[in-house]
């Protein structure tokens, strides 16, 4: 366990509400993520956790509320703008590019860092080739880090689930994000795979100082990894604090044990 490097706030979510027709997925949720911390969002199924991440990276537009990221406030933005701002993301059900190799998937994560345009890429000569090789070098670092060297040229559709999750993490890391959103990074994994994934997450956090917001159901993992935990239930934040504080919260115990509301 390691204290966050600073208390500077990276992401501030303020009074966000989101509804699909009559269904209220989020009601007046506020929370923040500090620079360099690991932040967990937990809650029972249907609590609005994934919706929260979708709002943060611009896939859903909130009905109310504002989001401030790196000091810039906005109510509405497109997903690629969020990506450009430095927010990367993995998904509950792996969202890889199935027809491409693991290497190409991660290389695709470098898109925002590519400087040479269409004509240079077409010639693939001199500076364009050098740039491509430089991106390849960076991507190979990630591949080494995630220990997926042997599968780099395999189409990801053919990989087992656990490895797909790693490739997806690799793709997000290739973006060199300031904030990494992980949606159930360990769902459907066995113990050994979970341990590997936990190690990757803490290493990313330590090594690159990337702030991480993750959704996870495995409480042991959450309590072990995270600096602070926010708890959502029925679209409302019911607790927020260090793992120990949250564990003792009566509201959280009720939500998980199913006390009538």
């Amino acid at each position: 366990m390691r204290a966050p490097d600073t208390n500077e706030i990276l992401l501030q979510v303020e009074g966000v509400a989101l509804a699909f027709g009559g269904v209220k997925a989020l009601r007046d949720v506020s929370f923040n993520v500090r620079k360099g911390e690991i932040r967990a969002i937990i809650g029972p199924n249907g609590a609005g956790k994934t919706s929260m991440l979708n709002v943060v990276n611009g896939f859903y537009h909130p009905n109310r509320g504002v989001i401030t990221f790196k000091g810039r406030t906005r109510a509405k933005m497109q997903p690629f703008e969020a990506a450009r701002g430095g927010i990367a993301r993995t998904f509950q059900n792996v969202a890889l590019f199935k027809g491409m190799s693991a290497l190409d998937n991660i290389m695709a994560g470098r898109t925002l860092k590519v400087r040479r345009g269409l004509l240079w890429q077409m010639l693939r000569y001199g500076p364009a080739l050098a740039e491509e090789a430089e991106h390849r070098r960076k991507v190979e670092e990630i591949i080494d880090f995630l220990e997926i060297e042997t599968i780099r040229k395999v189409p990801v559709g053919r990989l087992p689930y656990g490895l797909q999750k790693r490739v997806e993490l690799g793709r997000a890391l290739a973006m060199e994000p300031d904030l990494l959103l992980l949606d159930e990074p360990m769902a459907g994994m066995n113990l050994e795979e979970k341990e590997d994934m936990s190690r990757f997450i803490t290493d990313v956090n330590n090594h690159y100082g990337t702030a991480i917001a993750l959704i996870e159901h495995d409480m042991a993992v959450v309590m072990d990894l995270s600096d602070r935990v926010a708890v959502l239930d029925h679209g409302v934040k019911i607790a927020d604090g260090t793992p120990d504080e949250v564990k003792k919260s009566q509201a959280v115990i009720d939500a998980y044990l199913g006390v009538a509301h």
Binding site: N57, F59, Q78, P79, F80, A82, A83, R84, A88, R89, F91, A95, L96, F97, K98, G99, M100, D104, M107, A108, G109, R110, T111, L112, V114, L118, Q121, M122, L123, R124, A128, L129, E132, A133, H135, R136, R137, E140, R171, A172, M175
Partner: protein, 375 residues
């Protein structure tokens, strides 16, 4: 020589990023290019078998090269970017008619503004390339709906392009320089003073275009832009979340694809047909290009060549083989058989091997690398 890569170590990423990282493949390609650029022209010039007559050049190699080029364009849009197109024929037509207008001089009278736009006749090479750019422009225009609609809806949008341009080139006499028959003739193929006339010269010209553009296209699809296209194809939402702008990725795919198809259209008209009418670029052509891409391999530049070869050679085989066996088929039967064979082959490949013949070949090579061991 055995197909083995043992002992070929790569010491840089650039080496690993080459088109053909295995030495035997590079040698095979070099031999193929030598045959295409030196062997064929020599044999054809001296009329040595199988080039006793110009049949092989005119009826097979020339259309093969041009249609393979058009298939590469179609493949970029359909195979790499996943945007269905039933309008490739129309973009060939735009390339052809734009090149024709530019090569014969453009005059647009704007009487109500009191002046006219006049462009003097341009050299053939400039006309062909600008024809490609006109097609690219039209491609972007008809690609704009793809930002709001997906897959099947886009099929209808591209059909709209197909039918609209079929009509425009048939009914608007300006495009055909008011030719009473509606049929137009290509200008002399003068390239910097060298006039291309004989079949061998025409073949070399098309070979040069096909080779250069295939290499440039290959560079694009294995670079970042190609990865953006494939990302959009495989999962557009995830692509957006890693910072790919759908607007840019899709419209570049439309532009590059239409440019290549447009150049192919101009070559088809100028170099192969010589004189043509809009029928040369009908929806049948669009479907034919789509078939080449599916059969050869979606998302494969090499596959575009294989698909074009198959679609051109199959009908000839259907004619020759039964005749050799003493059971000649009528032209109609051949057409019907061809329909059935292409149709069922497409269904079969989509079910068993969506990456087409190109993928089957690479599986074969994989087996060969390991031969005689199964694993």
């Amino acid at each position: 020589m055995l197909y083995r890569e043992a002992g070929q170590f790569k010491t840089s990423y650039a080496e690993d990023m080459a088109i053909f990282p295995i030495r035997q493949d590079r040698i095979a390609l070099a031999v193929l290019l030598a045959i295409a650029f030196v062997g064929v022209p020599l044999l054809a010039t001296f009329h040595i078998w199988p080039f006793r007559t110009d049949y092989l050049l005119w009826a097979i190699l020339l259309p093969f090269l041009i249609l393979a080029l058009a298939a590469i364009g179609t493949n970029i849009l359909v195979g790499y970017c996943g945007q269905i197109s039933l309008g490739s024929g129309a973009f060939m037509a735009i390339g052809a008619y734009s090149a024709y207008k530019l090569a014969t001089g453009v005059h647009i009278p704007l009487a109500w503004l009191g002046f006219a736009i006049s462009i003097p006749p341009l050299p053939v090479l400039a006309s062909i390339l600008l024809g490609g750019f006109m097609a690219a422009g039209a491609g972007i225009l008809f690609g704009i709906p793809s930002l709001r609609i997906k897959g099947l809806y886009l099929a209808v949008a591209t059909l709209a392009a197909q039918f609209f341009f079929d009509w425009a080139f048939l009914r608007i006499p300006w495009f055909t320089n008011y030719a009473p028959s509606g049929s137009v003739n290509a200008p002399a193929l003068d390239f910097f003073g060298m006039v291309v006339r004989t079949p061998v010269e025409r073949y070399l010209l098309c070979l040069l275009f096909a080779t250069v553009m295939a290499v440039l296209a290959k560079n694009l699809v294995r670079g970042n832009l190609g990865r953006q296209w494939m990302a959009i194809r495989d999962m557009d939402i995830a692509a957006e979340l890693i910072g790919i702008r759908p607007l840019y990725a899709k419209l570049t795919a439309f532009a590059v694809s239409s440019f290549i198809i447009g150049v192919a259209g101009a070559l088809w008209a100028f170099v192969y047909l010589g004189s043509w009418e809009p029928l040369a670029f009908s929806i049948d052509r669009s479907l034919e290009l789509l078939f080449m891409v599916i059969i050869g391999g979606l998302g494969s530049i090499m596959g575009s060549f294989i698909g074009a070869a198959f679609i051109l050679i199959a009908p000839i085989m259907l004619n020759v083989i039964p005749t050799e066996l003493g059971l000649p088929l009528s032209t109609q039967t051949i057409t019907h058989l061809q329909f059935i064979i292409f149709g069922s082959l497409i269904c079969y490949l989509l079910i068993k091997e969506p990456h087409g013949f190109a993928r089957l070949i690479s599986i074969g090579k994989e087996k060969l690398r390991l031969w005689p061991f199964p694993y």
